[in-house]
Subunit: 198 residues, 4 copies
């Protein structure tokens, strides 16, 4: 369609790229990457498939671009964290900020969480692993007790999982987020108290 007859869809000019990203992420998160066809994305946007290829060279490039755009704040946070001393205070601060960054990029992370097999095959898999390794190196002290190492790893994981861990649970989302954050901070703090957990 898209015939200029009524002027209803002319105001989107120059933002097609953005709109593709938005719709794509929505569908990828909902149905998975493989199950989402470019036809579907194009139809929702009322453009042709070829239009998608004008903006992105391949299907993979769409998800890669989403990843790059949405994880920039985290990348910056990790870069920052690497330059700070790895004290408990730093870690707590990172947990807090990371929690917020996760919320901001929630749909992307929901997608990644739920499509790990796919992510692994795509190029973003490696970028993500690098990022996670950076985070782990800040949090996990390799000389610490193994249980405490797990605590720290679990803290990060709880944050990641938190978003959708609580979907079934009733209650105010903001409160749930706060609860998740508290558990994560707790885990990090306990780990720092020195393995007294056992």
């Amino acid at each position: 369609m898209g015939v200029t007859m009524d002027g209803t869809k002319q105001q989107r000019r120059g933002n097609t790229r953005q709109r593709i990203q938005d719709v794509a992420l929505e569908l990828f998160a909902e149905q998975g990457y493989e199950k989402t066809s470019l036809r579907e994305i194009a139809e929702r946007l009322d453009v042709t498939k070829a239009a998608l290829y004008y903006h992105f060279k391949t299907k993979e490039e769409i998800i890669v671009s989403l990843f790059a755009d949405l994880t920039k704040p985290m990348e910056e946070l990790i870069d920052w964290g690497e330059q700070q001393p790895h004290t408990l205070a730093t870690k707590q601060e990172i947990v807090r900020r990371y929690s917020q960054a996760l919320v901001d990029a929630a749909p992307l992370f929901r997608f990644m969480q739920e499509n790990q097999a796919t992510v692994r095959e795509l190029r973003i898999g490696d970028s993500f692993k690098d990022r996670m390794r950076g985070l782990r190196d800040i949090f996990v002290d390799p000389d610490a007790d193994l249980v405490d190492q797990v605590r720290c790893a679990s803290a990060i994981f709880t944050l990641h999982a938190g978003m959708f861990l609580l979907q079934d649970l009733e209650g105010d989302p903001e409160k749930k987020r706060a609860a998740v954050l508290e558990v994560a901070v707790d885990l990090v703090t306990q780990a720092h108290k020195g393995g007294a957990g056992t």
Copy 2:
């Protein structure tokens, strides 16, 4: 002609059915369900695609059968748990046994963890949700502090995530499993001590 009529003794002879399941699970876990084609499975087994259709009516039936077969122990555990009083001791026992059941069915859970988007679309999604809900209802006391609720949920989650959470970490797998178990038991125990967590 050895056609199964009652379902009790598939393994009897002509173990092709079993071999299909094995290879399928391996590939599904590795590459994802959508990315794994029946052609690939057939080729690995050195049979034709049509042979798969002799044993399973559809592709989905393969994964459904795997799920049914491999989660039976958990189903039984949850059934058992539902009939026990929901005391701390019961929960700790379930955590321990569940941890073992997870290890036994690790590849399936790795698959499910990494292909949630796919799982959701398939029939096993619902069966799994039912199972998880059963588990949650045993663990999570809806009247407890929200933070403690998160602790309990996080305990189960830590178990599930544990398997691959620690893949990067060096160390004896048995010890790592023990560490994961300890963190999970800890979380459940803390939750029971009454929200004073920190």
Copy 3:
């Protein structure tokens, strides 16, 4: 369609592969390889595109298989020639036999002649080059006069070109072939007489 209603097209069973090759070669020769789509081939055979892919893994495999099948006699001739002494008599004999082999595989060679750019990109390009090099090494004596070397190369070339060189010329095809053969034999013979040609 192919619906079994009348029984008119059931007698082709087991020869689909051959029929694909036949139609493909016809169309490749007529329109070129790139311009011939699998849709076109399938439609002519009244099967689906997917049926082609049952018999050949890729479009390229169709042409590769044609090449392999149709040039086998030549390959054998060259193998034979390599084991003979490279005398004038041998060369004349090869020219004669090669001429016949070319006639037998005429459509393929017409295709190759007219689609060299394509052939170069495909795997058959190299096989063909190897074959031609074998032939040249039999015919062309590297120590001979350059003009005589060209004569020998031109002999082979005249054979190859002969088929369609004379399409415009009127006259009995058999006679034309004989004339081409004579010119080729002539060139080879002159070359052997020792460059006195001019």
Copy 4:
């Protein structure tokens, strides 16, 4: 705005048109016409596809224009030849001059030689055939012996083929060209001596 109205001075300024032709011919010769996309041409020139359409109405027009520009000397040669008496001397002279014209337009002819299937479908096919017919009518005497007719045709063909016939052969290109020319002149001369070749 410098738009060509008469066609005489394309090279004047804003030489994009020329550059398009150059790159296009290079790619057409290398990969074939069908395999060469306008995107590829545009990318090499660092302009957009749309820019090509400013200079040429269609893809075909690019090759048509190349043909027209590069074969003009031959056209003139043939026109000249038609007005001369068809003596041996004339023919030898034409062979010599034609040989030079071929060298000047080598890439185009390499392209045409190697993409005959494509050329046949395009408009240039007919123009070329007309030109070749003109040449043949000068060279081939329809009343002569068939073998001599083939000799004359083969002479022209040897010239055409010569360019790439000798690519594999080592040696000074200039010498190779001379050798090709000698064989061609030879063939024409023999034909005129009256079938004595046999």
